[in-house]
């Protein structure tokens, strides 16, 4: 048999690129569907129901509260808790602690101005186990540019719902982080340059809090025990100043019924689509609030009941993070004067960078965020829970 030497020659194979582009197709879209979202927690107080109208995709008018409806929560023991509109579209039903206990089922009844009735299915309040722990690890994420990865903290929830507890959960999170300005304040400009007689640190320490809006849901239905280990929660990258000093995450664990879990889990999946090869198509989701009479319209949204447990974690991350650019501009005295003059009085005071060289003080301009940490959105008020 002849041996054939195969000579391998390629000519210019262009890059194979599977690419994702922003694309907003024309969507006729129907707006104006009735949206009712309500939740009963096991904590005494107002139980909130939000009623709004949906809006078409790309519609800038995206807050459309619906006022004037009446709401009521009923339990399966014959008690009812009428509500009142607290602010446009937000209704509250006060419930005392004695009426809020695991094992009781609740439903929501909404009546519109025409008297059409919308009633949810009964949802049982299920007990929620304590959160065992919140853990985290440093993870590296790759980007579209090879070798340009970044670091961050991945948080995990650990919980044990073996026994009589609910098997389905949602986690809500609120993050708070401490960050600092770069420079203390010793001089400022308000039409002329002024020196302070002492250095002030009033705007040096800041804290900022944000609710994490993404949905996190999980069910133990695929697990062989009620032990949830390392369920991934929020990922915090080092591309902001969140991890620059100290970071805290408050995790609320909400028990869910299977119906509520499936609804929220589908929403979660559908809001994190990737368009990849083996992805399944999104679909309409059915909520559990139904119109009761012929005049009623279909309802989007969910009514659910939940017990809530929470846990807070503090982290002093040891990774390099993003910092604002605080390099002084390097302006000469005249340049600085001209530059400062270009700001209107509404911008005063303008804090200045300075250096004392012998008896002389040299001023310069630097990014104002480096003097006043509040400019980055936080507050100088230390939160009560801060350790």
């Amino acid at each position: 048999m002849q041996v054939i030497r195969l000579i391998l020659v390629y000519v210019g194979l262009s890059l194979l690129v599977g690419c994702i582009y922003e694309y907003n197709p024309d969507l006729e879209g129907s707006s104006n569907a009735l949206v009712i979202n309500g939740k009963v927690t096991d904590q005494e107080g107002y139980q909130y129901i939000e009623i709004s109208r949906s809006f078409a995709p790309y519609d800038p008018d995206n807050k459309r509260p619906v006022s004037g409806y009446s709401v009521e929560i009923q339990d399966d023991e014959g008690n009812s808790f009428p509500g009142a509109e607290m602010e446009p579209g937000l209704y509250g039903c006060w419930m005392d602690q004695e009426y809020l206990a695991p094992g009781i089922s609740y439903r929501l009844i909404v009546t519109n101005e025409q008297g059409n009735l919308y009633v949810s299915d009964f949802e049982e309040l299920l007990p929620c186990p304590d959160i065992d722990s919140i853990s985290y690890e440093i993870q590296e994420k790759e980007t579209e540019i090879p070798d340009n990865s970044y670091l961050g903290l991945q948080f995990f929830a650990n919980t044990d719902c073996s026994g009589e507890y609910a098997k389905n959960f949602r986690w809500e999170m609120e993050e708070t982080w401490e960050y600092h300005a770069r420079y203390d304040i010793g001089a400022y400009y308000d039409g002329r340059i002024r020196d302070l007689d002492h250095i002030i640190y009033d705007y040096f320490y800041c804290w900022q809090s944000k609710r994490i809006l993404s949905l996190y849901t999980y069910s133990t239905q695929n697990l062989n025990s009620g032990l949830i280990r390392n369920y991934p929660l929020n990922f915090v990258s080092n591309q902001s100043d969140r991890l620059s000093f100290k970071y805290s995450l408050l995790v609320k664990q909400l028990s869910l019924s299977l119906v509520a879990y499936e609804y929220l889990n589908t929403l979660e999946k559908q809001s994190k689509q990737s368009g990849e090869l083996y992805e399944s198509q999104p679909a309409q989701i059915q909520g559990n609030i139904h119109p009761q009479d012929d005049g009623g319209e279909p309802v989007l949204g969910l009514f659910y009941t939940t017990s809530v447990k929470e846990k807070r974690i503090f982290v002093r991350p040891d990774i390099v993070t993003w910092r604002p650019d605080c390099e002084p501009y390097g302006l000469s005295a005249t340049e600085l004067h001209d530059y400062l003059g270009s700001f209107g009085p509404n911008r005063y005071p303008i804090y200045l960078y300075f250096e004392d060289i012998g008896p002389f003080r040299v001023y310069d301009f630097a990014n104002q965020e480096c003097f006043d940490c509040r400019l980055r959105g936080g507050t100088t008020e230390r939160p009560d829970f801060w350790e």
């Binding site: 210019g12 690129v17 809006f55 807050k63 790759e142 239905q221 390392n230 083996y278």
Partner: protein, 926 residues
């Protein structure tokens, strides 16, 4: 009637010249005929016989090299009412007033053939009568073959001619070669082993033997009684019609098949392909009525049907997953494929088991005269196939292997998930063909394909097809053939998913298919071709277990269970020629299916959703016990009516049943899609299809046209429920619903089979709609209304063109346009907990953007020397020349509380590949 003999003369002169063409050179200016004759006699071995007084004033003027003698004569003699005649012994007779007649014409009705003396045949188009006349005469120079002995002939019975057609050079059987009997307007085709059976009344005929890429042969046949005929065809050295889809006039207009295409692998060489690999399924996708889900999907949708409704047979082995490398390649190595047949309208009764189409692929049988090899290299794959005789003229082998080294491409992907992926595949095939004797042929074939890939290091997939077949062909008598085969096929996949380590799992799945099949072909008379037989299939499916994978996983193990089923069918069909114009195919298949134990089956409380909470009763079935039994007739009928010599109208009705289906809720065919048998809860699907077609040939320009209209109705189609999960429990009935489907469309196709420019242009308008309308809302999809199926593509246009610049260089292109596939889009956005969420439309209410693609391919052959050791050719392919960013999918994400749409495009730039292929032998070697 004076004109009659004239034409004979002209013709004979012409044919002589054309055949042997005495040519002369020189510069004759006003030369007296006498001198001219002497000059000619000197140059060529001819002798003029004439009377000097007739040619006295005739003078010849002509000059040049290699002038054709008959032409000069034609040009000059006519002026003096002279005629010439070339005799067999190289004498040229000149006659006056009357041409010389040697043979009597046997054709009447020639009045219109008003020929003129000395007329050159090339100078004008032939009239129909002349053409027929000439063809009628041609036999006088044709070889005559005598078949049988008139003494053996039994009165009133037809003669049956059995035989085979082989390649002179390689001895390989010529499959799909046509034998056209002009007098009867009937065509016959050789089978997969090159055998044919012709049943005709005794008499004299002209047989025309044709096979793509081979020299046409014509023989005068004196058929006296039944007998044998073995023909060897020689390769045409310079095939000019290499891109032709092999459906000659016999298929297109006269054949009984509708929606049928037979393609030989040689003919798809020049169709541009992605990543430089010629691929049968890619070619099928260019035919009208065939769509696919997306760029990265090997599944095809035929006439609006789901991807699991196509039967892929490779030498009788059913292949359950036909894709390699995310579907960019099909699992069939083109180097061992000889040809394939694609049926989408009327399936012959011997095929069954799938609703929409059958793609029957035959491998090469191997050269039984010499060793030969072929192979190629592209940026993605390398492949090689070798073949040769085991025992010369008796048995041969073929072996092939193909593998990929595509990882380097993935490493250059932008998407980090893809960058961390890898993919490998390979496939192997081996076959042996042995001719035991003239009446027995044995073929053994084995096939294995394997794919392995990981996506973003969180998911790993591995899958393989393995199959083997044993095929025995036996000629019982001159009018009865028998074919029996045993085939086994296994598809298996393994999947590890680590996207959430807490519930990471692995899943192994396997389907085994064992089949015995036997078919008889009986030709009781020249107007009938009867086929009958049956098959039996044993399905053994292990849907596998979901098991925890990795140390962190606490996945709950789930056993999806095993299942068994038996499918059987018997069939009989008769192809009847009712008259010269009407042929009918009447077929009946009766199929049976039993779903077998051991199995645990749940019964659910009626009027409630099917779910674990509504289990009413549990039924246990022991091994071998029949759980469900389904059966039914499948009528296969078609008719052809020849409306004229070059056009016909055809009709077909087809019923098909399918006893297994695929569980899929993804856009692309995923390797983890499981095949599942019809069972206690899920009934088998069935389809009825009616098609009507019109076919027209335009012989002169090698053009043919076809128009087909079809309407198809499918019952018990399986649709997944929204959010279906196929690995959570063995009870599939909780995840799917059954509904109805209707599909209809019109397919127009214009094809040019030969010439410098060849190819086809097709236009399709088609719809495919599904309705799932159970009594309760949980048994409905889209409120029980009709909705477009995932593969409803109304308009599609394909143009395939091949321009042969010269014998070595050809340029070809594909143009593909179709409406975007249906998709579910957001219709409204709502707020919940200060975040925005999407409410989607009903299933498939929108469409992704239209698809358009233009590909270009340049094929450069090596030199055309006929004596050379090997031949190679280069193929430069540009896929998606315009770089259009065709959407594969459109999806929406919630980003920072806002909804943003994205489209994903798989090939968003032109993809250039260069591949090199070789074979031993010369350009024309097979």
């Amino acid at each position: 009637m004076k004109a009659l003999p004239l034409i004979i003369l002209i013709f004979l002169a012409h044919s002589y010249a054309a055949a042997q063409g005495p040519v002369i050179s020189g510069d004759f200016r006003d030369l007296p005929f006498d001198e001219f004759a002497l000059e000619v006699e000197e140059q060529v071995p001819v002798k003029f016989v004439y009377r000097k007084e007739w040619t006295g004033d005739l003078r010849i003027s002509a000059s040049g090299e290699n002038m054709e003698l008959y032409k000069i004569l034609s040009d000059h003699l006519s002026r003096n009412d002279l005629y010439y005649f070339f005799s067999d012994d190289y004498r040229i007779f000149i006659t006056r007033d009357n041409p010389l007649v040697t043979v009597l014409p046997d054709y009447a009705g020639i009045e219109e053939a008003a020929g003129r003396s000395g007329d050159s045949l090339e100078a004008r188009e032939l009239t129909e009568a002349e053409r027929l006349y000439i063809e009628g005469r041609r036999k006088s120079i044709m070889k005559t073959i005598y078949i049988g002995n008139s003494a053996d002939h039994i009165n009133g019975q037809g003669a049956v001619i059995n035989g085979n057609i082989k390649d002179t050079e390689t001895g390989e059987a010529m499959v799909g070669a046509t034998i056209y009997v002009q007098e009867l307007s009937r065509g016959f085709i050789t089978d997969i082993n090159g055998y044919f059976t012709i049943s005709i009344p005794p008499g004299s005929y002209i047989f025309r033997f044709n096979c793509l890429g081979m020299e046409e042969l014509q023989y005068k046949m004196e058929v006296r009684s039944s007998g044998e005929l073995n023909i060897e065809m020689a390769r045409r050295l310079y095939p000019i019609d290499e891109i032709t889809v092999k459906s000659s006039e016999f298929h297109n207009v006269r054949g009984l098949q509708m929606g049928f295409t037979q393609i030989s692998i040689k003919n798809i060489k020049e169709i541009p392909v992605v990543l430089g690999e010629k691929d049968v399924l890619r070619v099928v996708q260019l035919l009208p009525g065939v769509q696919n889900a997306g760029e990265g999907s090997a599944g095809i949708n035929v006439r609006g049907s789901a991807v699991d409704q196509n039967m892929f047979l490779l030498n009788k082995i059913p292949i359950y997953n036909t894709s390699h490398l995310f579907g960019f390649f099909s699992a069939f190595n083109p180097d061992i494929i000889r040809d394939f047949s694609f049926y989408k309208s009327n399936l012959p009764a011997k095929y069954g088991g799938r609703l929409a189409s059958v793609i029957d692929i035959s491998s090469r049988q191997g050269n039984n005269k010499n060793f030969t090899a072929r192979g190629g290299i592209s940026p993605i794959t390398a492949k090689i196939a070798v073949e040769g005789p085991i025992k010369r003229d008796k048995s041969s082998y073929v072996l092939s292997a193909r593998s990929t080294y595509s990882d380097w491409i993935l490493k250059r992907m932008k998407d980090p998930a893809l960058r961390n992926s890898n993919a490998q595949f390979y496939d192997l095939a081996a076959g042996i063909t042995t001719k035991l004797n003239d009446r027995n042929l044995l073929k053994v074939f084995g096939y294995y394909s394997n794919d392995r890939f990981s996506l973003a290091s969180t998911e790993q997939y591995q899958y393989s097809n393995a199959g083997a077949s044993l095929d025995w062909w036996h000629q019982v008598s001159s009018i009865l053939n028998f074919n029996a085969s045993l085939a086994m096929s296994q598809y298996q996949f393994g999947h590890q998913n680590n996207s959430l380590p807490l519930e990471a799992y692995q899943h192994d799945y396997q389907i085994n298919h064992y089949e015995f099949k036997s078919d008889f072909t009986w030709i009781p008379g020249y107007r009938h071709k009867v086929m009958f037989g049956g098959n039996a299939i044993l399905y053994d499916i292990d849907r596998g277990e979901i098991l925890p994978w990795g140390e962190e996983s606490s996945r709950k193990p789930v056993t999806l269970g095993r299942e068994n089923g038996i499918e059987g069918a018997i069939h009989i069909s008769d192809q009847i020629q009712l008259s010269d114009r009407i042929s009918v195919y009447a077929g009946l298949r009766y199929s049976l299916y039993a779903y077998m134990g051991p199995q645990t089956v749940y019964e659910y409380v009626p009027e409630n959703p099917v779910g674990p909470e509504y289990i009413e009763d549990t039924l246990y079935f022991s091994e071998g016990e029949i759980i469900s039994f389904y059966s039914g007739p499948e009528i296969r009928a078609s008719a052809t009516y020849l409306t004229g010599t070059n056009n016909s109208v055809k009709f077909s009705y087809n019923k098909t049943r399918q006893y297994l289906y695929m569980l899929s809720n993804t856009i692309a065919l995923s390797p983890t899609d499981q095949w599942k048998l019809a069972d206690y809860h899920i009934s088998p699907q069935s389809a009825d299809q009616v098609s009507v077609g019109f076919y027209q040939d335009f012989n002169k320009k090698f053009l043919n046209f076809s128009a087909e209209v079809y309407y198809k109705k499918v019952n018990d189609i399986v649709e997944y429920k929204d959010g279906a999960n196929f690995i959570s429990s063995p009870q599939i009935e909780t995840e799917v619903l059954q509904g109805k489907q209707k599909a209809y469309g019109i397919e127009l196709m214009m094809k040019k089979n030969a010439g410098k420019l060849s190819g086809w242009l097709s236009f399709t308008y088609a719809r495919s709609l599904i309705r799932v309308d159970g009594d309760n809302y949980w048994e409905q999809i889209n409120q029980g209304n009709w909705y477009p199926s995932n593969y409803d593509i109304p308009v599609s246009v394909n143009a395939v063109m091949n321009l042969r610049a010269n014998r070595r260089l050809s340029i070809s292109s594909n143009l593909v346009y179709h409406t975007g596939r249906p998709i579910t889009y957001p219709v409204t956005i709502f707020n919940m907990d200060d975040n925005q969420y999407i409410s989607y439309s009903g299933r498939n209410e929108y469409r992704i953007p239209d698809y358009f693609r233009l590909d270009l391919s340049v094929n450069l052959e090596g030199n055309l020397k006929s004596r050379k050791f090997w031949h190679s050719y280069w193929m430069l392919n540009v896929y998606n020349l315009t770089g259009r960013k065709n959407a594969y999918s459109v999806f929406f994400k919630n980003e920072g509380g806002k909804i943003q749409g994205y489209k994903m495009s798989i090939f968003s730039q032109p993809i250039v590949t260069l591949s090199w292929n070789f074979k031993l032998g010369n350009y024309a070697s097979d």
